[in-house]
């Protein structure tokens, strides 16, 4: 195994057993190797197993067949070096935004004061400093999602698994956060796996785009994006790639 592969997925299959006794194949024969500081985007139709794949890498779900490695060790359970931003709202509803962002730091045994100081830094980063004391129900969906991103970042994980994190954001905030995410990724040398339904977003962010197909979920194509950053959406290459990937998703 190569030394620098942060995540290695070998022949991963995942089958869910439903209550009716049927078996749903969610993922089939996934092979993927993610290197240090890679920015991977995953696109694919709804239900093709994108969330399932991230959950397995995070250690929240077991594989049915095949193995997943993090830094050469098989993933058996969650690990605070592998953070995740969930597709659903995941803030604790009984804590204010600042306490929510400090949650991982509290688990790590950091003092309350210190953790809140640090949490405040990430709160600023996602532009929510005016809402430190607000409760999640007082925030819009997009604001909650930004707080969840801040919470994952505050834990300073090496790998960040992001499941449609920008789905609930307006176009302007979305572009701002895309730029911010790229900055953090370059600065802190993180490895990111990012699920999105927006092909445009995938091209803007990724080093590599994984295009998946459904029933069962399989990797259909892997596309390297070599355009230099920051990427210009007006670049004709951008549009061509967009059209090509959309074409793949169509079939």
């Amino acid at each position: 195994m190569l030394q620098e592969a942060v995540i290695n997925i070998e022949n991963l299959c995942k089958t869910y057993a439903t209550k009716q006794g049927a078996f749903v194949p969610a993922l089939k024969d996934i092979n993927l190797s993610v290197d240090l500081n890679d920015f991977i985007c995953i696109v694919g139709p709804s239900g093709c197993g994108k969330s399932t794949m991230l959950r397995i890498i995070a250690g929240l779900e077991q594989t049915s067949e095949g193995r997943v490695f993090y830094m050469g060790e098989e993933v058996k359970k969650t690990n605070r070096e592998v953070g995740m931003v969930f597709q659903d709202y995941s803030l604790l509803p009984w804590q204010n935004v600042l306490d929510n962002i400090a949650l991982g730091l509290v688990f790590a045994g950091m003092s309350r004061n210190e953790s809140l100081q640090l949490a405040h830094k990430y709160l600023k980063l996602v532009g929510l400093e005016a809402f430190a004391r607000a409760y999640p129900y007082e925030l819009s969906g997009g604001m909650q999602q930004r707080a969840a991103i801040a919470r994952a970042l505050a834990n300073d994980p090496r790998v960040l698994l992001m499941d449609e994190p920008f789905g609930a954001l307006d176009a302007h905030t979305r572009i701002l956060l895309q730029e911010e995410l790229l900055r953090i990724w370059e600065q802190d040398r993180k490895t990111i796996m990012f699920v999105t339904h927006s092909v445009d977003e995938a091209i803007y962010l990724a080093d590599r785009i994984i295009v998946m197909s459904a029933h069962p979920g399989q990797i259909k194509e892997v596309i390297d994006v070599t355009m230099p950053r920051p990427r210009d959406r007006a670049n004709p290459l951008y549009g061509q790639m967009n059209a090509r990937i959309l074409g793949m998703l169509d079939r």
Partner: protein, 314 residues
């Protein structure tokens, strides 16, 4: 959740927070003007219409019948209620009997909570524990607490806490002798199931993504339990406790009808009935109603203060 160091500007937020406290009121109540006070007064009067009609009808019928055994006069009842500390037909005062009942109910209720909450959480969290106990507990659930009376009497008779603790005389004997095991048991049964059920389903209904996100943030099992599961379940537990206390309080009369009981509101009612003092019967019923409503109200305040997030989320 303790004191939060003051890190942010805070001002606009404070406004925001206080805004949400009234978020459940009707919009026109948020405006500050005289009509708000007027509205409140109008609502108060409106909610007193039915009680006023009720009392008037009572008054008229009682006057017409002139038979206090069937329906006592309103003023007799009022007399009893505004002098709750007076001694009644050698059974102690109303206040004293309410106090005795309250202590009994609280003891049975606290025992039920101490057992039902951990049991409910364990059954909700561990499938194996659920399967182990569910069938057994489900069999006893439909049995009304009152149906336990004969069995409970055969088991405990008039054994009291005093017997159990070996206290034979003195002030404590009087208190403890009032706490018959049979009585506590009936009240316990009444409170047990609501608390158990709501703890169990509280745990079941915790959103999985909250547990998952805590796990990926590095929480161990203890963190999950203490910082995620318990806070998430507590509204549901407190709700179950509120219902359980209500049921326990309702079991009171049946429990206090048990032999060996010489005090308590339930006893007061049954005894007053045998000496044809219907006014005392009704005064006892009114006290049960008022105390029950007050207990319920206290729990509601707690729920509103501590668990506003649950009402306001989603």
């Amino acid at each position: 959740m303790g004191e939060t160091p003051y890190l942010d500007g805070g001002e606009p937020l404070d406004v925001k927070r206080s805004g949400t406290q009234f978020g459940f009121m009707e919009p026109n109540q948020i405006n500050f003007n005289g009509s708000r006070v007027k509205r409140f007064g109008a609502q108060l009067i409106w909610s007193l219409v039915i009680p006023a009609v009720f009392i008037t009808v009572w008054y008229l019928i009682a006057n017409h019948l002139q038979n206090p055994v069937v329906l006592p006069h309103v003023r007799d009842l009022v007399q009893l209620l505004i002098h709750p500390a007076d001694n009644l037909i050698s059974m102690g005062s109303l206040l004293n009997n309410i106090f005795v009942s309250l202590v009994r109910v609280l003891i049975g209720f606290i025992l039920a909570v101490l057992i039902a909450v951990p049991a409910g959480i364990a059954m909700g969290y561990y499938d194996s524990v659920y399967r182990l106990f569910n069938g057994f507990l489900g069999m006893f659930r439909p049995i009304p607490p009152l149906a336990w009376v004969p069995l409970v009497l055969a088991w405990f008779g008039i054994t009291s806490m005093a017997t159990l603790l070996g206290v034979k005389q003195g002030q404590w004997y009087i208190y403890l002798n009032n706490l018959k095991l049979s009585m506590v048991f009936i009240i316990f049964i009444g409170a047990f199931y609501p608390v158990l059920t709501s703890s169990l389903y509280g745990v079941r209904n915790v959103r999985k993504v909250l547990l998952d996100s805590a796990r990926v943030l590095g929480a161990n099992e203890k963190d999950i339990f203490r910082l995620i599961l318990l806070p998430a379940v507590s509204p549901s537990i407190v709700n179950g406790m509120r219902i359980g206390l209500g049921v326990a309080w309702m079991c009171l009369v049946s429990a206090e009808m048990l032999p060996g009981s010489l005090s308590g509101v339930g006893y007061l009612i049954t005894h007053a009935y045998t000496v044809a003092r219907t006014d005392i019967v009704i005064a006892g019923m009114v006290s049960i109603g008022v105390v029950g409503a007050v207990l319920d109200f206290l729990f509601r305040i707690l729920e509103d203060k501590k668990f506003a997030w649950q009402r306001l989320s989603r």
